[in-house]
Symmetry: C2
Subunit: 206 residues, 2 copies
């Protein structure tokens, strides 16, 4: 009852690394099973087809990412009472985390799937969509708290600002991968931080 899950997650580890490194289409089942030391039958015992593997990977990826964001920004808020400064610390921590990845961020599974759309079924696409919307909601909540206390120098929609966090990460990852420069993603996160720092300003007494 346990060895099965172990093998399954080993397959998923190998598959995720391969898919992020060279794309979904370029990752063959054969090379996965070879590295995992199992047979084709063994693979299809765990996953009905390649799409099922993709879905399992995405679900795991999203939950790990959620936990990461939760932990990071929760810890940041503990370091500073103020919602704005807490969030800024969170972004700093995020940037440092990304900078510590030895070969740069390996890639975002959601973006991988987004650029391989029709290889997947409706379920996988809706999963991606829901994850993006949940991130919007998450950061929107943080910005709502900040906006309660601070004035804004520019009248921007807080949903768009929340999306900017995801967009910055996604854009930074694409650039980091394309340029083969691990620094770009952390830099871009700090640029976002700079914007948020400038955008919110002490409330003026009226």
């Amino acid at each position: 009852m346990k060895k099965g899950q172990e093998t399954k997650s080993r397959i998923m580890d190998i598959a995720e690394a391969a898919i992020l490194a060279k794309g979904f289409g370029a990752t063959s089942i054969e090379e996965i099973i070879e590295e995992a030391g199992i047979t084709k039958s063994g693979f299809f015992y765990h996953f009905s087809d390649k799409n099922a593997l993709a879905k399992a990977l995405l679900e795991r990826y999203i939950s790990i990412e959620d936990e990461l964001f939760d932990g990071l920004f929760d810890r940041a808020q503990e370091l500073h009472d103020d919602p704005l400064h807490g969030f800024l610390i969170g972004l700093k921590l995020l940037s440092e985390l990304m900078a510590d990845l030895p070969n740069g961020h390996p890639g975002c599974l959601i973006a991988t799937y987004c650029y391989n759309e029709r290889l997947f079924d409706k379920e996988v696409r809706e999963l991606s969509q829901r994850a993006m919307l949940s991130w919007r909601k998450r950061f929107r909540k943080a910005f709502d708290k900040i906006a309660e206390k601070y004035d804004m120098r520019d009248d921007v929609d807080l949903d768009h600002l929340a999306d900017m966090v995801s967009a910055t990460c996604e854009g930074g990852i694409v650039m980091t991968k394309t340029l083969r420069d691990p620094d770009v993603l952390p830099q871009q996160i700090l640029m976002l931080r700079s914007y948020i720092k400038l955008l919110f300003t002490e409330r003026k007494p009226n």
Copy 2:
């Protein structure tokens, strides 16, 4: 000497649309030739293999994108003498252009290739890299001009700021495609615009 080029570019049109819609791996040569009304032999007469098609598509994509940026920001600068306000107008125009795309931005070929890495050879990857670097250079030049005249509220690296333009577009495209919401990309471009507006401020006399 002309009909050949015509067929070739028709193949490329069909291929580009298909690749952006469903990824490179999911786009078969067979469906391309079917839609183009030619045979497999005809396809391989124009392109030695799938990688050659990818390379040709990328080259065309980059040059079109370059022309687009050139035209757009040149025109914007004509509308306003000031480098900052000219650039802000350029971003506004870019946002409007993206908003006018009926089904949202179809996707960036460079990002597509970045998430399908090993499907392509070194040449294609270097082409992507050079394009990204040229965009950095392009926007860096614009920001240099702005920085000559304006103070900055936050001391950020102008290369990172230049990269932010590309990153915003890439991130916005990923989000627009994932959420199936054409508005996200133009919104994110306007967020970038808001940042640049806040970042640069009238030079104080010393």
